[in-house]
Amino acid sequence: MNLQRFTQTIDGPLGLSRYARYWLAGPLTLLVSILMMATSSLWLPRGEAGVDNLVYAMVLFPVIWAVIFMYVVLESDLKRATGVLFGLFFANALVVGLSISGAFS
């Protein structure tokens, strides 16, 4: 890949490597998408049969991934992209953690 276009450094306290966009668009996007799939099954409508939320969550997974991936590719401000992704990561990880601990049951 054209390294110059994808390897912008994020300055400041984050101190991320020059491959920041790779990390954001690759592993972090995938991780955030998986977490969002997990949490969306909690808030999506269950329907009368109680299965709609499960199907919707799995159907939405590739859509969520594609939206986040394209956002990271198109976003010029890498600090903002980093903030958005880590925000989504922590918010969804918190919900997953709470649901596993039985807080919603």
Binding site: E48, A49, V51, N53, F61, P62, V63, L74, I100
Partner: protein, 521 residues
């Protein structure tokens, strides 16, 4: 038309190009095998030269199956599946569900293979479902489908891989839409002849523009099927079911709550299947009996889409009395939007909603997508014609482009040999590997791409022509016998191989001035 800054456009172009370069050939393998697998049932039928019994589940099977229930461990009566293999033999799997030491829920039980007419037991295997030996009659069909579904990689890694390829296809389609500045205009583009690069780009754009809707459909539905099983279910089980995967699967499948466990004679299976056929007007292709021999036993029949409906249907019966209980959604126990969505995804991915007609359209669209993938890679190579380090890719394009169909043909040849000699069902895989190895070897030894492509075309042509001959020799089934038995699909596929074989032998390969000709898909 989507306007982006130059910097963003270049980033999207990088994503579009590099996703293709890194995973395009693997994507081609999955899409090509998927396009062929649309006709997997018909190919399975062809591989065994048709069958005597066209619809085994509508035969008188109760008298064959009922005695077997007394020969298995009682716990395997919890769930019994009945279906037929390509040879028209009846497969009966008495099983229950157990959690394996590694935490996975697996089917475990006894599987019988019977002659559907006489009830003679042809094979009996016991163990975990995934460990049971492959059905020899299904070996070629299974090989093709597994290559498409998981590239023959172990679970769940194969599913992860094909799921990622689905995401790559999705992002290629989206980035392609962003990059095509004149999406509507490109639908009626006449490829420019002024230079090879322009011509290649126009051809790629033209095919890609028409393929975009199908690409997105295939990418979304394919990624769904790959990730739903391997990733979605375990992840959602953690949040929505407190980690209880069994409970989640029961919710999704819609397993009825345990009721009256009193022993009870099972209703006649032939009557249930006949009722199901009379209600739908089509033959059932699958029967499942839950709680066999109990008062709360239920039977479920499965029918492919019919009568203009794009959905496959399931019908539930009280298996103790034989009473019809109504249609049963594939997801959950009552109609839901989730079930409708699942049916829609299935219909769009498998393309079987209008019989052979929709399957044919899906095959053509799948092959068109192969062309888009290969022409995109060809474009990449043409643009780097002066860079020696990229010339290996032109050869790789030819080798994989022609090598995949050729290796599938050698897998079929190996299957026909193995079938004739009574060998193991692993032979399609060996045939595929031998075909692939031969392609790689000849590619390594040939420096001129024109002669390499000519060689591949000759191989493909002759191997395709050999298929009807080998099939006839291995089975002794001439066309006249096949016609009498109603096995028209076998004849149609024989004719297809002959037509394609002659096409590849007769068509003169284009002269290639440099190492940049891509194969036709």
């Amino acid at each position: 038309m989507i306007k982006l800054s130059r910097e963003r456009t270049l980033r999207v172009l990088d994503v579009h190009g590099w996703s293709g370069v890194l995973l395009g050939l693997a994507l081609y393998v999955v899409v090509f095998t998927g396009a062929i697998a649309v006709f997997a049932d018909e190919l399975g039928l062809w591989s065994v030269s048709g069958r005597d019994v066209q619809s085994p589940l509508t035969q008188s099977i109760d008298r064959h199956v009922r005695p077997l229930s007394g020969q298995v461990d009682e716990r395997y009566l919890e769930d019994v599946n009945l279906f037929n293999n390509p040879a028209g033999e009846l497969v009966v799997f008495f099983h229950t569900h157990e959690t394996t030491p590694n935490g996975q829920i697996e089917d475990i039980g006894v599987r019988y293979r019977l002659d559907a007419k006489t009830g003679e037991v042809l094979a009996r295997d016991e163990g975990y479902g995934k460990d049971l030996p492959d059905d020899p009659a299904s070996a070629l069909e299974r090989f093709l489908v597994d290559l498409h579904v998981n590239l023959h990689a172990p679970d769940p890694w194969g599913l992860y891989l094909t799921g990622i390829l689905g995401l790559v296809l999705l992002v290629s389609a989206i980035s392609g839409i962003i990059l095509h500045r004149h999406l509507i205009k490109d639908m009626f583009l006449s490829p420019r002849q002024s230079s090879r690069a322009l011509k290649a780009r126009d051809q790629h754009n033209l095919a890609a523009t028409w393929s975009v809707p199908f690409s997105i459909i295939l990418a979304l539905t394919g990624a769904f099927f790959s990730f739903a099983i391997s990733l979605g279910l375990p992840v959602i089980a953690m949040t929505a079911f407190g980690g209880d995967q069994e409970k989640m699967i029961e919710t999704l499948i819609g397993v009825p709550e345990p009721g009256d466990e009193t022993p009870h004679q099972l209703a006649n299976l032939d009557t249930i299947l006949a009722k199901s056929k009379s209600m739908t007007g089509t033959d059932p292709v699958f029967l499942s009996v839950i709680h066999w021999g109990r008062a709360d036993a239920k039977a479920l029949t499965f029918h492919w889409p019919h009568g203009g409906d794009i959905n496959a249907t399931q019908h539930q019966f009280d298996a103790a009395s034989g009473e019809y209980l109504g249609s049963k959604p594939r997801i959950g126990t009552q109609p839901s939007t989730g079930n409708t969505l699942f049916n829609l995804i299935s219909a769009l991915h498998f393309g079987n909603f209008a019989g052979w007609f929709s399957k044919l359209i899906w095959l053509v669209l799948g092959l068109a997508l192969c062309y888009v993938t290969l022409s995109g890679l060809q474009l990449w190579v043409i643009r780097r014609e002066a860079e020696q380090q990229w010339q290996w890719m032109a050869k790789a394009l030819s080798t994989v482009g022609y090598g995949l169909p050729f290796s599938l043909v050698t897998a079929s040849i190996a299957f026909l040999f193995a079938q004739g000699l009574g060998w193991s069902s692993a032979w399609p895989a060996w045939g595929f590997l031998l075909g692939s190895a031969a392609c790689v070897l000849v590619a390594r030894r040939t420096s001129d791409l024109t002669s390499l492509n000519a060689t591949f075309r000759q191989w493909l042509g002759w191997s395709l022509l050999s298929l009807p001959v080998l099939r006839t020799l291995s089975s002794g089934e001439l066309w006249v016998f096949l016609l009498q038995a109603g096995n028209v699909w076998v004849i149609l596929l024989d004719l297809t191989w002959i037509f394609l074989g002659l096409y590849y032998l007769r068509k003169e390969p284009r002269s290639v001035p440099s190492l940049t000709e891509a194969p036709a898909c």
